[in-house]
Symmetry: C2
Subunit: 261 residues, 2 copies
């Protein structure tokens, strides 16, 4: 049985507490609790989590004995929280995509437990569908992280800090940048008084095609076929503040596919 | 019974021929064939379609008698094909998102039958899930287009040519631009030797969140929170040719959400 403390109960921390908690509500994201036990969790607000039976820890100086302390805090707080735990003998691992493992090197046994997903407190999580990306300071630490990860999902990967940063960068494209394209479309439809649900089938089909064909093979549209008259007509419809993004993505599509033209 | 001729058997034309064809293979996209009948179709290659019993028309001068001639040809060919049909008494409608209805104004009764979707010959289509966007030169033409559309889907909208161009522009964002973001992520993962399927759950969750919360409300990430150190770290990982797109989208996210900062 691996004893776990979770520090930070934002979106990810809350879902992990619920998954690791031995007697919380049953849900599809439940960890194999014969392997792991949540022995406590800490947050700055001091507010206990619903559906978690493990105790809320009042003070970072009074952590219970644990094999793994999992930091689910914002990226920029990882170093400070890590320092405040400097007398622990447990494995310390963070969950950040963009923070190097080295940020925890004050601790003998340390690692990273990164899940490339956008978590929300109100949306359920099925960890078994998610990829868990692990890095560890040494092989005995990796074994513990592997056991914790395997309690959640069979999809486990060993990525070093550079690979994880690259994955996080790719995640920015498919999450933040894609969502911003959705936002621009949403605004255009609102201003044209067109119901926003009208493009849902196209959004779904775009994703399915990219997954089935590979995104590069699935590219179509006026930028790819150098259809200058449609591009100019689109720019005429857009406010000038939206021209830089439209033009830059159009140009990037053309450069990326230059060998096809 | 409305008699239909389809001109052009690209991705959309092929799926429409199969849907309208009275005795083709049964599929979920099948039109209500008590209302419509495909009396023929034309393509430049002269190759007959599989799974369509209606005859291939050899020559545009010899079209069978029809209530509706539906042009499923590339945008830039709409005017030329329309001119070549100048002696028809049928309704002439095109299926383009970006061509104005006026392009068909040589014909007394004309209209537009636009479906904002990305069609592929090899992927099945369920027309009942899609939005059909109609425009017509007059009310009797609109009635015919409505009956044809209702044989395929209950989701029908009347959009004028300006609205349809705006919808097509929004479709470019959610299809072409989103797919290009997927492409950039795909390349980053390939170069980092990370399996491409690793981001699939994030791609799916990004779409679901945008649909559930609205995209603008769903925005997160380093651009939104003005996390300059992560942004600079990302730029350091990217080849210089990818900097303009990364920077421009980042700036557009910040400008779009400026009131939140």
């Amino acid at each position: 049985m691996i004893k776990i403390v979770v520090i930070g109960t934002g979106n990810l921390g809350t879902h992990l507490c619920r998954a690791f908690d031995a007697s919380g509500i049953p849900e599809s994201s439940k960890a194999d609790v014969s392997e792991v036990e949540l022995v406590g969790y800490y947050n700055r607000s001091g507010r206990p989590l619903e559906f978690v039976s493990a105790p809320l820890i009042k003070n970072l100086d009074q952590l219970p004995d644990a094999d793994l302390i999992l930091l689910c805090v914002p990226d920029d707080q990882v170093p400070a929280v890590s320092s405040s735990l400097s007398h622990q003998n447990s494995i310390i691992a963070h969950t950040s995509g963009s923070v190097a493992m080295q940020a925890l090197s004050d601790h003998e046994n340390h690692g990273v437990f990164y899940i490339p997903q956008s978590f929300s407190k109100k949306r359920s999580v099925d960890f078994s569908q998610l990829a868990l990306c692990l890095e560890a300071s040494d092989s005995s630490t990796m074994k513990i992280l592997e056991r914790v990860a395997s309690s959640l999902s069979r999809k486990r990967f060993h990525l070093d800090s550079l690979q994880r940063r690259q994955l996080h960068l790719a995640a920015v494209y498919v999450n933040n940048f894609v969502n911003h394209c959705y936002t621009k479309a949403e605004t255009i439809l609102q201003e044209a008084e067109i119901p926003s649900g009208l493009l849902q089938p196209l959004m779904e089909e775009t994703l399915q095609k990219a997954l089935n064909l590979g995104a590069k093979n699935a590219q179509t549209g006026p930028a790819l076929r150098q259809d200058q008259s449609t591009i100019l007509a689109h720019l005429a419809l857009l406010p000038p503040s939206d021209h830089p993004m439209y033009k830059t993505i159009t140009q990037s599509i053309q450069e990326t596919h230059a060998q096809k033209l």
